[in-house]
Every structure is written in structure tokens, then in C-alpha cells.
Amino acid sequence: MAHFGLRHFRNELRDIMRPKVVILLMTVAFVVLGLVAFFKGGRGVEQTTAVATPGAQMPPANPKQPPEPPHAPGTPVVVSESVRAALVAKDVDEILDLQSQVDGSNNPQIINALLNKLSNPEAEVRRTAVQVLKEMNDTNAVPGLQKAAEATADPREKVAILDAIDYIKMPSFTANVPPELFTNRQDPNDVDTNAQFNKNFTKGMKDVRRSDGSQQTVPSDTPANQ
């Protein structure tokens, strides 16, 4: 009976481990893991937003003065300084992560995420978001920044946002350069600029040798120093 049970189990296992079944199970596993990750992330956002209460947009007039503790209307939330610092650091890290993910094709999503950070109760978080939006240098951020400037009562913060808007809208050095001036390949003997005659310089020569610490032997036509 026990033997039958074992054989039955093996048969069942063989059925289970058929390729299609395995693929199906792995797919399900990935989906489950993805859902777990999603809900884990979602909880993280909830935790953040639970502290980052809307309505606490007004930063302190004096940046050295600690901002008012974030609170929901009618239900003050008390957090310690260390917790608050950790939350600020987390938000700032998130902003910098967003910046590092900019690849030219995802600007709208990242701009939206950064603009959302402008409603964070912490001045440092808002300041970082404005700085990153300025560094992104994308005019699509201007309308959102303008709204943020209108909603901001702090004169310093308003000026910082307006400065960022001005900078983003400012023409660049090369904004109006005609296309024909972008290249200099017309004359292969042109000595004005590099003519692609040495392709090794960017990554270095590949005949690298590791020395034993002795001085190199330089080519014979290398001029003596001094």
C-alpha cells in the first residue's frame, strides 16, 4: 500500500512536472511574486503618504527653522526627529532615483512623479524636486512648476521655482544652430577638428601590458622632457 502510494505520488509528480505545466506554474509564480512586490511597494507608498499629509505644503519662512510637523486635519501625528529625518532621506533618495532613471523616453512619467513631490510637507524634499526638475531641463515641466509656484506661499520657495522655470525656458547655446554646422566632415584633411583617423583613443589601446613596476620604454621620437 505504501509502495502504491509512493508510485502514485511519482506518477502525479511526473504529470505535474510536464513542460507545459512547469511553464504554467512558473508563470503563476512570477505573477504571484510580482503581485507581492506590487503590494509591498503600495504599502510603502501608503506609509509615506500617511506622513506626507496633503495640506501641509507651506514650508517655514526660515529654512533653518524646523517645519511644522506634518499632520492630517484634526489628527496631529507626532514623529520623532530621527524618524522625520529618515523619511526625508527616503524621499530625497526617491527623487534622485527618479533622476537616475531619466533616459529621454520616460520624461513625462518622471516629471509627473517629481511634480507630485512638490506637495511634500518637507522643504528639503520639495527643494530637491525643484532642483532635479531644473536639471532635467524639460519644458514639459513648466506648467506644473507654474502651478506649484502659484500654490506656494513661501517667497524663497516661490523664487526658487520661478528661477527654475526661467532656466528651463532660457534658450541654450546651441538651440538655433543650423544642422549644416553640426558636422565638420566636409573636408577629410580639415585640421580644425578630429577627422576620425585614430579610433583607438576613446577606449585606449588594447595592447595593454601589465608591467613589473619598471618605467616604460617610450617611442624613440618622444622628446626628452626639459
Binding site: 531641463n137 553640426f182 580644425d192
Partner: protein, 530 residues
Amino acid sequence: MKTTVAIAALAVGVGTSAYAQLVKQDIITVNLTAQMQTSVSQTTKQNAGNWLAIDSVSGQYQGPKFYKTTTLKLTQTQILQYIGYVLHSDAGYYSSKANLVLVQGELSGFFEVSPDLANSVAQFSLHPKPAKLGAVPQAGPDGTFASVDGDSNTALASSGDSTFVTLANGRHFRLNPDGLSSVDKGNSPTTTPVYQYPVGHMQPWGQIFVQDPAGHGTASVPVCDNVTYFFALSVQECYDCFYMNSFVSDASFKTVPNPGQGPVCCNSGTTLQGTGVDKYYLSLSFDNTQNNPFLNPTAGNNMWVGVIGIKANSYLWSGKGVNGDSITPDKISYVSQIASSISKDIPFEARFTLNGIMTYSWKLGFINKNDVAPDFLGTGNYSATGYGFIGLFCQLLTGTATFSERGVNTPCCTDDNNTLITLNGTFTGWASSWYGPGAEYAPTGGGAGTGIAGTGYDTAWDLAVAAGNTLITAPYPPYPITPYNIGTSLTYHEGADVTYPANPTGVSISGWPSPNVVIPLGLPVATPTL
């Protein structure tokens, strides 16, 4: 079913773990505002009239009475265009996804390098020249180094012996005598002497690359062009001063047990971790013209790396180009009209220098659990003002540059495939693509009978090496000094060395990157003439 799910989960976990090995890399963003003259005119119209015109009231010749400026912005996008124009003959070579990155970067003043790395020697190769320049190949740095340093790269996180964190020790150049242990005190060396180097001689460190995951590259194999020689960075030092010589810091360190997850070879049992903010005075120059000695193919210039810069310095050649260089007064021939076509437009010509304070906020910790050592990770904010010669206009610059450090999966400066290099069984690592604009490339030491060209000693470090007193393996060194302005340096530290760059023969350049002896162009330069 459970088994299968567990296997799948394990597979995911392993894959994630393997993929999560991160390498520190800085993305450099630049936000500069430039003020420039756009009109000098005899009327309210732009650039109208002649430089001198008869004044209707006085009846005398007078100059233009109407002057206008404008403001433009300069970001990393423009810098990438300036580089692409020279390196690839196309200002649009790099895609909109390209970044200017600092690889193996170390911005903290508490960063130091070992003698093995310090003694690395820049390698020279013959760079071919176009026919118009005589077609005679010319020797210059080829972007590689010979080194006994066996680490794959110079970052703290993966450094077994090339770099390390050190703390202030009350000296500015010499090793701390307290650390010499029993050897210093004349006793038998029963314990290994601990030589402590001074801090603040190496930051910022690394190589500057253009990384482009699109256009001519892909996400998995991005374009990685080493463009370090377009830049020059220098840091001010002072001596006989209290505390550190080049930076100030609000920091706290703690010694913690090393998790022991790195290689057995390099686990010392304890390690330093901490947080802090370092500040230092940094000058940052960019130059894609032939005034940059690394881009100047003049015969005899042994600093030429094989790339020809824009001919904004044209005294050696006739023909098109700007007959001036922004250094020598009145090289441009005189034309009475204010608006003339005396030179062609070169909008991608750029030379500028910024001066300001770098503020680097960092945490010292393990980036990956299995790293050899903790590394600094943080953000450098550089607020600066400066001047420039950009697009053939003089510019006044203000703004910021940000060095944002993150862990990435596909860093530059490993090799073409972004993996470690093995060539002929030799582990080369960082040395396969490295330039040291913070040092001099002129070979030092050697001389008659050695087969080595050059006998000059250009830096304090060269002198010390020549005297044989820097190696920690030697018996008690009488005057050991810390590595300083070494061949692999990204940054030149100003203070102890008075001559920089070396006097490259046959080429006239201004003091670059820092204000120095300005040599009138076109004059013989064997003996600099002021």
C-alpha cells in the same frame, strides 16, 4: 506544486541577486547661465556701423554708443555636443539619452591611493596624423597605464590594495611618525608598521566618460567614450595650516566589524563606516580647442592624445578657422565694420573654467554585501562662477554642477563589453582606459643609459620617487610623502608644485587648466617669455 513554486521563486531570487551587483557611477549634470555680448553698435540696430564713425554733434570720430548682452544656458547637453563635434566630427553624435558620467569616482577628501597605484606609468603610442599636418605619427598618451596594481578598478568598493579610506593624521605630506610603530622607535619590528598617509591629496578621483545607451550604443552595451582629457580639475591646498590641507569636513566615522563577505584576502576584520559632508575649492575647466594640450597635435607636444581640437588656436596653420585664440590680443586682423564675416561660425567651440566650492555629502558603507570594502556614496553639489570662450564669444558663467552617485548595473570603464578584461592572461582592469590630466605625462626619472626619455622631475611626488623614499616596503624612510599629483590623477592639487603643466616643447599654450604663465602665441617657447 509547492515544489515548483519554490524552485521558481528561488530562480527569481538568484537571478535578482546576481543582477543586483551594483557599481557606483556619478551622473554629472550641469546648469550654467552665460552672459555674453550680442551687439555693439553705432545705432539701436544690432551691430550696425563701423568701429569708428564721425559723431554728428562733435564732428569727431567716436566709437559705438549702444551695447547689448544676452543670457543663454549651458547644460551637459551642450557639453556632449562640444565633445561629439571634436571626437566624432558630429555635434549630434550622442543621443538624447547620453550622460556625462564620472566612473570609479571618489569625491571625498578621505580617499587615498596606494603606492602601487601611484607609481603607475602612462603609456605612450604613436598617433597617426593627417596629411595636412605632415602625416608623421607623433607620440603621446594612449589612454593606458602600466601598473603593478592588480585591482580591476580603483573604486574603494572593489579595491584590494589600490585605494583606501584614511583619516587625518596631523601631517600634510609625510607619513605619520606615530604609525611607524616599533620600527620607528628602533625596536625590532615585531609588528607590521602602520603607515598613515595624510588626507586630502586625491579628490576628486575617477575618469569622465560619455555613456550613451542609445544612438550608437545599446542599453546592454552603451557607448562609453573616455573624455577625461577634455576636462581639467584642480583643487587648492594649503600647508602649515591647522587640520587638513585641502578640505573641511563635518563627518563622523565608526569602526565596525567587517561583515566578512568579501574575498578572504582582503578582509581585515574591521572597517570604517560613517557619514559626512566634505567641502573644497575646485576649479573645473573644459576645452575642446587646441589650446588644450591634450588636443594639440603640434610637433613635439608630447601631451597630444591623438585627438585634434578645434582650431581656435591657429597660429601654426593658415587657412580657415579663427585667426585668434582668445589669449593673444589682436590676433584677429582689423576690419572697420562691426559686423563682418572675418571668420566662420564655430558654435561648438568651447573653453571655460569654473571656480567654486564642491560640497560632497556622503555615506560610507557597503554598496553590495560582498564588496571588498565600504565606499563613499552621495551627491556632490558644485556651485561656481567662471568665464569662458564659447562659440567664439567671451562668456561670464554662473551656475551649478551636480555629481549624483548611484549604483548601476552597466557602468563604463570596464571594457567594451562592460566586463572585466583579460588580455593574454593578464588582468588589466582600469588601466585599459585611463587618462591622468591631473598630472604630467612627461616621463620622469630615467635618463642616460636607462632607455627612458626624460630626466626632469616635475612634481614633489616625482622627486620623492626618484629619491626612493616613498615605498612603504622599504626600511624606515627618512622623508616619506603621500602620493601627490600622480600620473593617474584626475585632479591636479595646487600647492606644492609650482609648474603646471610641464613646458611642452614646440607648443604655446596658456596656463591650463589653472591661471599660470601665459605664453604669447607664436613665440619660441623654449624659454617662456612674459
